[in-house]
């Protein structure tokens, strides 16, 4: 009897420890994601010129690509504090790229002819944010998306807190 009791208790302890480890891991991931988003949202946008571009269509058979619409790699010429440097960006999907070019992004199909791509991308200026220490850049449309997400998160958390406090006060 006592053996069964201890076994059950031990099992319960094991499950609870596993669960708390899992929760800690999830919170660590969440915090890292949040920190990355906040850092990205604080980057200052600048402009850069496209020096070259490459369009490629992922193979439909290749399961590593979630989306087999054509994607674009960009080489950019960035300028910051009088310093010029090259940055490569991508692969970008059209939904990320088109807002930066002031084009409609809603369910664009992206199968354009070479001529269309050339007209659209050659020597164009795009607004990007350069993180020049890390040699990375992101499009300002992605930063806008991040800011929107952060705003939504903040608003919903504060509304939740207000709702809980009001219900406590009322009861």
């Amino acid at each position: 009897m006592i053996v069964v009791f201890i076994l059950l208790g031990g099992l319960l302890w094991l499950i609870s420890l596993l669960l708390s480890a899992f929760a800690a891991w999830a919170f660590y991931k969440l915090a890292r994601l949040l920190w990355k988003k906040i850092r990205r949202a604080l980057l200052r946008p600048g402009t850069a010129q496209i020096t070259s571009y490459e369009v490629f269509t992922p193979d439909l058979e290749d399961i590593h690509f979630q989306d087999s619409r054509p994607q674009v790699r960009l080489e950019l010429d960035c300028e910051r504090h009088g310093q010029r440097f090259q940055i490569s960006l991508g692969p970008l999907t059209c939904e990320e790229l088109f807002p930066a070019l002031d084009m409609p992004a809603h369910h664009v199909a992206c199968w354009l002819s070479d001529e269309d791509w050339r007209q659209m991308l050659e020597n164009r200026w795009v607004t990007i944010a350069c993180d020049w220490r890390q040699r990375k850049a992101i499009l300002s449309s992605q930063i806008r998306e991040d800011r929107r997400m952060l705003l939504i998160g903040f608003l919903s958390l504060s509304l939740f807190a207000v709702l809980v406090t009001l219900s406590l006060l009322q009861s």
Binding site: F5, I6, L8, G9, G10, L12, W13, I15, S16, L17, L19, S20, F22, A23, A26, F27, L30, L60, F65, Q66, D67, S68, R69, D102, M103, P104, H106, H107, V108, A109, C110, W111, L112, I152, G153, L155, S156, L157, F160, L163, V164, L166, S167, L168, Q170, S171
Partner: protein, 156 residues
């Protein structure tokens, strides 16, 4: 003995899982609220519904991911031309679901929502909006929080 083997693990389990459940709940409510907000923004913004002519259409075979879902199938891509304030625009549009767009195959027209501020950024006019259901779900979830919060917090 009893409290060490049964009560302590249960307390640890609840402590570990409660913040995640709360975050899930809040995230779901935030998603509903965002849907309502974007619908209201779309309706409140100065815009016009413009009839666009289909100038080209083709079928593509592709894997397309929208949000979290990925689908592999044959989809139509339409090339549309529309006029707005004496200017002609051309857009390409991928139709994922025929039910979600106002498409008239016989007349060869496609209804587009064109915002006045940026006529080049046209999106298809969709016949059905999700926001009434989202509003209902949001109200129910908010009411559940309102009811559950005092009892849960005072019970502890």
């Amino acid at each position: 003995m009893d409290s060490f083997f049964f009560d302590a693990p249960l307390v640890i389990m609840t402590a570990a899982i409660t913040p995640m459940l709360l975050l899930m709940w809040i995230g779901l409510m935030a998603a509903f609220g965002e849907a309502i907000w974007s619908d209201c923004y779309r309706l409140g913004r100065p815009h016009d519904i413009v009839k666009a002519a289909i100038i080209d259409q083709k079928l593509v075979n592709a894997r397309i991911s929208v949000g979290k879902t990925t689908m592999v199938s044959l989809k139509y891509v339409y090339r549309l031309r529309y006029e707005y304030e004496q200017r002609t625009y051309e857009v390409q549009h991928l139709v994922l679901d025929q039910e979600h767009v106002e498409l008239n195959e016989q007349a060869g027209t496609f209804l587009l929502y064109v915002p006045k501020a940026n006529p080049a950024d046209a999106t298809p006019e969709s016949p059905n909006a999700a926001s009434p259901f989202a509003a209902m779900a949001l109200m129910i979830m908010g009411y559940l929080i309102w009811e559950a919060a005092p009892t849960l917090l005072k019970g502890l």
